[in-house]
């Protein structure tokens, strides 16, 4: 969090940004996958910045490229993935592409670490929980068996696992889902990472446990000062827990802003649609849940044009012909969006009103009745 006197005023944060270096910088990251149908552009030109101790939320539907983004940073992409030339990922000023995982074996897993989506499958089933922890600790930190055991028990206690000495000798299948996710978190933070990537850490858990896990992550981050990327498809998860949010769609970041600003002044129609899709407590019962029509495209040889145009209630002719780039909004340097007709601007309002009146967008999609300017 920034230390401005009025932390929620964007201008103060902007000043801060000038002083503090980005800890993680992703520049024009492009990851394509070779498939029988052609090259799928899973991540197609992503730029991100994350400062020390901050949390970045990455939000988007399934298939928007969030997980590929995190795996590219972790260097655990599938063998058919290709990171294109010009992609750059810098951690603390070091270009990760120039770091050889063989020579620098204590970067991934130590400075950079990751929590996966499904705790049911992300622990090795045939090794006890304790063994998995001590293996990691001993490999990276060169601890002896006794010290590693003590540290593992400490970590298990730290992530809130009762009776850590007993759990140490248990296998993953003997623990509940929430407990297993605590173990994967213990594994991820075992070597005090500087950056923790949590890829949908709560999607596979039930709601009460979700809350506990998110709080655990927040507390761990607060006490260790690590940076964190929280990947999710649920805006509700990132709302109160991140400093900035990047909204991804079809392999690109379509909007990026400080969290509060994103919720109050969203510019991209996709962000708006995502926020509208969160059920509200004050809705009368049996209100139809809002949804975004259609599905995200699979991007093989995309035609020019905004990839969201087909589903966007604001879409105009221009949106189907030109590809918008991510540009800074005039009112805040830290807020950028990739849209020709951003919400909350005169052009955007005109475009959307025109579509509502016509009942159909320039892409030929009917405008649903719930859509407002």
């Amino acid at each position: 969090m920034s230390t401005g006197t009025e932390p929620y005023v964007d201008d103060v944060v902007v000043d801060d940004a000038g002083q503090q270096e980005s800890f993680l910088e992703v520049e024009n990251l492009r990851v394509w996958f070779g498939t029988p149908r052609g090259m799928v552009r899973a991540v197609d030109g992503v730029d991100l910045q994350l400062r020390k101790g901050e949390t970045l939320g990455v939000v988007g539907e399934s298939g928007s490229g969030k997980s590929v983004l995190s795996r590219a940073i972790m260097k655990i992409l599938a063998p058919n993935a290709r990171v294109l030339d010009g992609s750059r990922i810098r951690l603390d000023g070091v270009d990760l592409a120039t770091v050889n995982p063989k020579k620098n074996r204590h970067l991934w897993g130590v400075d950079l670490s990751m929590v996966f989506q499904d705790p049911m499958t992300s622990l090795t089933p045939v090794i006890t929980v304790g063994k998995q922890l001590t293996e990691t600790l001993r490999y990276h930190l060169d601890l002896d068996a006794k010290a590693a055991r003590a540290e593992a028990v400490r970590l298990l206690r730290l992530v809130g696992i009762p009776e850590p000495e007993k759990r140490f000798d248990q296998y993953p299948h003997e623990l509940s889902g929430g407990m297993r996710q605590r173990v994967t978190i213990a594994l991820a933070i075992s070597c005090s990472p500087k950056l923790l990537i949590a890829d949908e850490p709560t999607t596979a858990l039930d709601v009460t446990v979700q809350h506990q896990i998110l709080n655990l992550l927040r507390d761990l981050q607060a006490s260790s000062g690590m940076s964190m990327i929280l990947i999710t498809h649920d805006l509700g998860v990132v709302a109160g827990r991140t400093d900035n949010i990047a909204v991804m769609y079809a392999g690109r970041v379509v909007e990026m802003a400080p969290t509060r600003r994103l919720f109050s002044h969203m510019r991209h129609p996709y962000t708006r649609a995502l926020i509208d899709a969160i059920p509200k407590l004050d809705h009368p019962s049996h209100t139809r849940l809002a949804s975004i029509p259609g599905r995200p495209p699979t991007i093989v040889d995309p035609p020019p044009g905004c990839s969201f145009a087909a589903r966007c209630p604001s879409a105009q002719d221009r949106c189907t012909k030109e590809t918008p780039t991510l540009v800074t909004t005039p009112d805040s340097e830290r807020h950028s969006a990739a849209c020709f007709f951003p919400l909350g601007t005169p052009e955007g309002d005109v475009a959307r009103r025109r579509n509502i009146e016509a009942g159909v967008t320039a892409a030929g999609t009917p405008v649903l009745s719930g859509v407002t300017v």
Partner: protein
Amino acid sequence: MNAVVWRRRAGSVARFFLLLFLVTVAVFLLLDLIPGSPVDAILPPEATPEQRAAAAEQYGLNDPMWQRYLDWLGGILQGDFGRSFQTGLSVSDQILERAPVSIELAVLAMIVALAVSIPVGVWSAYRPGSVVDRVSTFMISATLATPAFVLGILLVYVFAVKLGWLPVLGWVPFSEDPAEHIKRLILPVLTLAAGECVLFTRLLKGDMMATLQQDHVLSARARGLPTRSILTRHSLRQSSFSLVTVSGVVIGRLIGGTVLVEAIFSLPGMGTMVITAIQSRDYIVVQAVVLLSAIVYLSMNTLVDLSYPLLDPRVRKVRTS
């Protein structure tokens, strides 16, 4: 180890003994199932009725069947498989003399097959399309298309006849000349191992590829663990179910059935013994070998069964629920 685990193990062992009983009955009946009386098998066709009666008396063939079974079983439990009808020699002595040859062949072939197939299978699964993978896939197809006797003869032709690196045939006991003993074992062991090696590699590669696609492997990689540890500790054990199962069957098959290879290389194992016995209608020898093979099979399968919980702790739980 809780009570449930032990109860299940006891179940495995109980099944083993039940099957063993059925096997002995079936093997015992072999003699009675041969067309005609066992006496026909023992005596030449021109024997007189008096000779036949004397033989029946001598071998206890006039007793009721259950009594003959018990006598036979009692003998076997004391290590007495009876005497050959043809030579009058003790079958036990013959087996004791020949079994070590077959067992040595089988065990060595097994070790060679596993030593080759485990690294090759693991690496082919880890790097599909790599040189190792492509070469092994080619070798698999080639070996599958080559019967063991063809391969054996081919090996003899190339290494013994053409290159002259190794002796052609025959057997020298280890006690006489260890170096020569090993030299003469190389080709038969290779011939036996080739087929099994191919089978093991394919099984392991398939299971391993499935395991390597699981999340926990990705998670181990994200922890920065070395590839060696990911491929062995985190993947190999749980990928070896099929391999262990088939290994059990294969070692049973190898010990009881190295017939072809022993014949090709004229080795004095149980295989050649069985061939001679069959040719001379010496059924009591056949009976003994069949029984031993069945026991080896059963024991191996029971061991395999008992090993599953060691391979994957989840099995300990799943089966009880």
